[in-house]
């Protein structure tokens, strides 16, 4: 039982990490109806920019390496980079495609993925970097000593960050004028334009916020596994989360993440050995597929009704 609980808690906390990436997808889909295929590449670019600035600031400007000043300035510069990327995406990719079918916008983001991946390596090089956030990825002592259950301090920190982000984004969507405008744009571009909502500004805002979410997700995943191209693969973990939680729901991303994280770990441990192991790569997709048959809009997604 103790082992089961440990696997379950570990899975839930992993699920939060997936949800962090899924949030970026939800944000852009909710506000613009675009499934942003480039979200994984944005996570990579954001994290790489952060560690890149951490290297450049001490080397070029004589700042003290590893200092808080370098950390926060790097964070701000990386965020500014993501804002510029967001604005450029709106100007170059999205603006010419206003009122085009969603599949066109989706295809454009596939192209954007390659551009962002190439841009990241061209700007900062292909070297693999480490990233320390000052929180050790080790078990909490008393839980381990008293109950024999290993719960990572780092995973708990990531869960806290994700919870804060969700609260922040939920408040943004529900209680601010910008948030209401974002939802209006998501419903219908033309209708939103006709009542005076500045579509271009809204898109810039939403891509900048998605850039911020990508930066946070990139830093958490980068601290865990290193800042390297594989960060783009985190998007693969987010997809079943989105299917389960719904593409338009911020809380759905979290709940979806928890379900996917817990179920894939339990499946790997208890079912994996029966079928040769290594099933957590595809198991979440099977689960999401099964879920689609019952509830196509996801747990918290908006039900789509068409007049026929």
């Amino acid at each position: 039982m103790q082992f089961f609980i440990e696997v379950l808690i570990g899975g839930l906390l992993s699920g939060v990490m997936y949800a962090l990436v899924a949030l970026g997808f939800v944000l852009i889909y909710k506000a613009s109806g675009v499934f942003n295929f480039a979200q994984g590449a944005m996570v990579f670019f954001a994290a790489l920019s952060f560690v890149g600035f951490q290297e450049v600031l001490p080397a070029r400007f004589g700042m003290e390496a590893g200092s808080a000043a370098v950390f926060w300035l790097s964070f701000l510069l990386a965020f500014a980079t993501m804002v510029v990327l967001g604005i450029a995406t709106e100007r170059i990719v999205l603006r010419p495609l206003v009122n085009q079918p969603p599949i066109t916008l989706f295809m454009a983001t596939i192209g954007l993925t390659y551009v962002v991946e190439g841009l990241a390596q061209m700007t900062w090089g292909a070297n693999v970097r480490g990233l320390e956030l000052g929180i050790m990825d080790e078990p909490i002592g008393w839980l381990m000593d008293d109950y024999g259950i290993g719960v990572s301090k780092f995973d708990l920190f990531a869960a806290g960050v994700a919870a804060s982000l969700v609260a922040l984004l939920a408040a943004l969507f529900q209680y601010t004028k910008v948030g209401r405008a974002l939802r209006a744009v998501a419903d219908d571009h033309q209708a939103a334009l006709s009542i005076g909502i500045p579509l271009q500004t809204i898109w810039r805002v939403v891509w900048a916020v998605a850039g911020f979410v990508a930066l946070v997700a990139g830093m958490i995943w980068g601290a865990r596994n290193g800042v390297q191209f594989a960060l783009t693969f985190t998007a693969l973990k987010a997809l079943p989360v989105l299917i389960l939680g719904g593409f338009t729901s911020v809380p759905g991303a979290i709940v979806g993440g928890l379900i996917i994280g817990a179920s894939e770990k339990l499946a790997e441990v208890y079912v994996g050995p029966l079928v040769g192991g290594g099933i957590e790569g595809w198991f979440p997709y099977m689960l999401a597929l099964a879920f689609l048959l019952v509830r196509p809009e996801g747990l918290f997604g908006e039900r789509h009704i068409d007049r026929v």
Binding site: S14, V128, G130, D137, E138, G150, G226, F233, G277, G278
Partner: protein, 441 residues
């Protein structure tokens, strides 16, 4: 007058032609299917950087191989099979004699070009990857998995663990966990490790990690329950630092983890930070810039501003030195082939294939090349396209790799027996008649 003028012009032209022929420099072309962008760019930029630097060294310091200057062209594969095949086709007819040798540093691309290369008479050299049974040169005359193969490596790792325990007999009853990348590459070790487990009496538990391996919580919880005496890490890419961090998280000692050569580079340990300290990995080349061959590269190549590496701190890293090994072996095979087909001449791929098959880098030759201990002595023959099948072990001290063993051998009779068995099955399936090596010159 007109006649005199024409005669003068003709003489001048003939002189010009003669002088250009006399001054013509032979060139040997080497196509490089590199990957400097995409998911595996970190490794690719190191390997191909070191490789190009070594060839540049031969041109700058020695004026080429017996006067034949090396030329090369990179073709970006992004580690993608389709692009690899495209690069193979694009490069194969370049240079005066065509591409000398194809070394894709990718098992997938290797498999894709094996048949084509044999038809085009271009040797395929796969150092540390590719088909293990291609070490049987009687069945695979055009393929050279040089120095060592995955099977030899697995066996050498078990021998290393046995030595740590105080003898192979001490392995009886021990538990060894194999944490492997769930792919053909990761499963390549299963057959040999099963045989070794049966032979030495240790308990082998295989645990798969789904690609890309950036989540390993459940695997390490399983390993914590199992309490293995050692864990062999058969990883790739992000799976390696993730494994080291996850091991630290469950309190498994990194000193008890032994990685393969695709788990044992700075790119695998640096991202894991302090969690990597104490981790040991196998390698058919070692890290370090304090070898005369690397010092010469710094002096003759970087000293003239012709170095390939943007980040000079990576000179002497595991991947960089692996590239130098690729360059060194290629150059020595061409040199050997020139002994038979003519010194100072550009050679065809078919002629260079002979050079690979008769390569003999003994201790004396390695010393002359400034590479003693950098790679193992290597002797290739018609039947044996692998060579020594040995590895050294290096341990990460938190900042760099430190060599902690001499060259460790594999269970040669067992490995070679498996290679021959597998190659014979392949030959039967494909209708290939193995070469009679006694008739090869």
């Amino acid at each position: 007058m007109k006649l005199k003028h024409s005669a003068l012009l003709g003489t001048a032209l003939a002189g010009l032609l003669a002088s250009s022929i006399a001054g013509a420099v032979e060139e040997q072309f080497i196509g490089l299917p590199s990957y400097r962008v995409g998911p595996y760019a970190a490794g690719g930029s190191g390997v191909f950087g070191g490789w190009i630097d070594y060839m540049q060294l031969i041109n700058e310091r020695d004026g080429g191989i017996n006067g034949v200057r090396l030329t090369w062209e990179e073709c970006e594969t992004e580690y993608n099979n389709a692009r690899g095949v495209e690069c193979y086709e694009r490069l194969k007819k370049k240079g005066s004699t065509g591409n000398t040798v194809f070394q894709p540093v990718s098992t997938g691309i290797t498999y894709s070009v094996l048949d084509k290369a044999a038809q085009d008479k271009i040797p395929v050299v796969t150092i540390g990857y590719g088909r293990t049974d291609a070490a049987d040169g009687r069945v695979f005359p055009w393929v050279f998995p040089l120095i060592t193969t995955y099977w030899s490596q697995a066996s050498a790792i078990v021998n290393f663990i046995g030595a740590k325990e105080g003898g192979m007999d001490k392995l009886k009853g021990k538990k060894i966990g194999l944490l492997y990348h769930d792919s053909a590459y990761g499963k390549e070790s299963h057959a040999i490790l099963d045989k070794l487990a049966a032979k030495h009496g240790f308990e082998l538990t295989k645990i798969a990690v789904a690609h890309p391996g950036n989540e390993q919580q459940s695997q390490w919880l399983q390993l914590r329950q199992l309490k293995p005496d050692y864990v062999i890490l058969w990883g790739w890419g992000v799976m390696n630092p993730t494994a080291l961090k996850a091991a630290a998280k469950v309190g498994y000692p990194r000193e008890k983890m032994v990685g393969v050569w695709w788990s044992g580079a700075e790119e695998d340990t640096v991202p894991a930070g302090p969690a990597a300290k104490g981790f040991t990995a196998a390698g058919f080349n070692v890290a370090g810039a304090n070898y005369p061959v690397v010092a010469d590269i710094k002096k003759f190549v970087y000293g003239k501003g012709k170095g390939n590496m943007e980040d000079k701190a990576r000179i002497g890293s595991v991947y960089y030195n692996r590239g130098v090994v690729h360059g060194l072996i290629t150059v020595e095979a061409i040199r050997k082939a020139q002994e038979k087909y003519g010194k100072g001449k550009a050679l065809t791929g078919e002629q260079v294939r002979w050079g690979f098959e008769n390569l003999n880098l003994d201790e004396a030759r390695l010393r002359a090349l400034g590479a003693t201990g950098f790679l193992p002595p290597l002797k290739i023959s018609c039947a044996d396209h692998e060579g020594p099948g040995v590895v050294k072990f290096q341990q990460w001290d938190g900042n760099q790799w430190k060599v902690i063993s001499d060259w460790v051998e594999s269970d040669r009779p067992l490995v070679r027996g498996m290679i021959e068995e597998s190659a014979a099955a392949y030959a039967k399936e494909k209708g290939i008649k193995p070469r009679d090596c006694s008739k090869e010159g």
